[in-house]
């Protein structure tokens, strides 16, 4: 396994999406290189923390205002088609 392949697999290991056989292979590689294992574990921690960030929600007033504007544009476009 070359470095690029290993890096790509580490990316999948960080996400927890590696198939079991490949996960064992990557973890065996990491066991040989403590720095690599530490780096990957810290990346996994960062990825997990990122997923805990709360979703940002728009203000309901903004959502309705933007929809009203969209539907006004829609009505104008439809009126243009009928007039033509």
């Amino acid at each position: 396994m070359n470095q690029n392949e290993l890096q790509e697999l580490i990316g999948l290991w960080v996400d927890g999406t590696l198939p079991e056989a490949l996960r064992d292979l990557v973890e065996a590689e990491m066991a040989k290189w403590p720095d690599l294992a530490e780096d990957a574990a810290a990346l996994r921690q960062t990825a997990r923390e990122l997923r805990t960030l709360p979703a940002e929600h728009p203000d309901s007033w903004f959502v309705e205002k933007t929809l009203t504007r969209l539907l006004r544009e829609h009505d104008a476009a439809e009126a243009g088609i009928k007039a033509a």
């Binding site: 890096q7 790509e8 580490i10 990316g11 960080v14 780096d39 810290a42 990346l43 921690q45 960062t46 990825a47 923390e49 990122l50 997923r51 960030l53 979703a55 940002e56 929600h57 728009p58 203000d59 903004f62 959502v63 933007t66 929809l67 504007r69 969209l70 539907l71 544009e73 829609h74 009505d75 476009a77 439809e78 088609i81």
Partner: protein, 186 residues
């Protein structure tokens, strides 16, 4: 070819028949995630709202012009538009602005009733906001919005391999900031 799911059917229905209900369903289904993306990518509420409005106007116009052809999943296509709008916004020259806390500082001695309350931000949010545009973009798409590397590649216009590499570098950059500031457990 993406699966023919409900979003794609609705988009085609709107493009073909001009059914306003289809447009409204698509908007309501995706407005929160496009806003959430813009909010993290652009970092301020005002910018996120303007970018979200502009995104949906462009989506509407592109649908009417027949520019959506189901080559991409509808959500991926919308985020491609949103990403372009946000990037354009970042490049616009900006006038210096006063934040609420700046205003609060200047008024505090004179108006004791006015107490500015900035939104609480976590250390992680602040670290994310301090990253480069490319890094913030890929982390927001993949880690916060849940796009795969292949979908994110379509949105940002890179190859899947380059996108995976960018994603890994972005996570490292974020981890480094968190570690330097002592905000992540070792």
């Amino acid at each position: 070819m993406p699966e023919w799911n409900d979003d794609e059917r609705l988009a085609a229905q709107y493009a073909a028949e001009g059914d306003a209900r289809a447009l409204e369903i698509l908007y309501r289904r995706h407005v929160t995630s496009t806003y959430g993306f813009a909010r993290r990518f652009l970092t301020t509420v005002e910018d996120a709202e303007e970018a979200t409005s502009e995104t949906w106007l462009r989506v509407f116009r592109a649908l009417r012009a027949g520019q959506y052809r189901e080559q991409a999943a509808f959500r991926t296509w919308v985020f491609g538009i949103c990403r372009n709008v946000c990037s354009e916004r970042l490049r616009q020259p900006r006038l210096p602005t006063l934040s609420l806390s700046d205003i609060g500082e200047s008024l505090r001695d004179h108006w004791t009733l006015f107490e500015p309350q900035p939104a609480p931000e976590s250390a992680l949010s602040e670290a994310l906001a301090s990253l480069s545009e490319d890094h913030r973009l890929i982390l927001t798409l993949c880690d916060l919005q849940g796009f795969t590397a292949t979908e994110a590649a379509e949105i940002i216009g890179r190859t899947p391999a380059a996108t995976k590499s960018l994603h890994l570098r972005a996570r490292r950059a974020l981890r480094d900031i968190m570690q330097i500031s002592g905000r992540q457990d070792e």
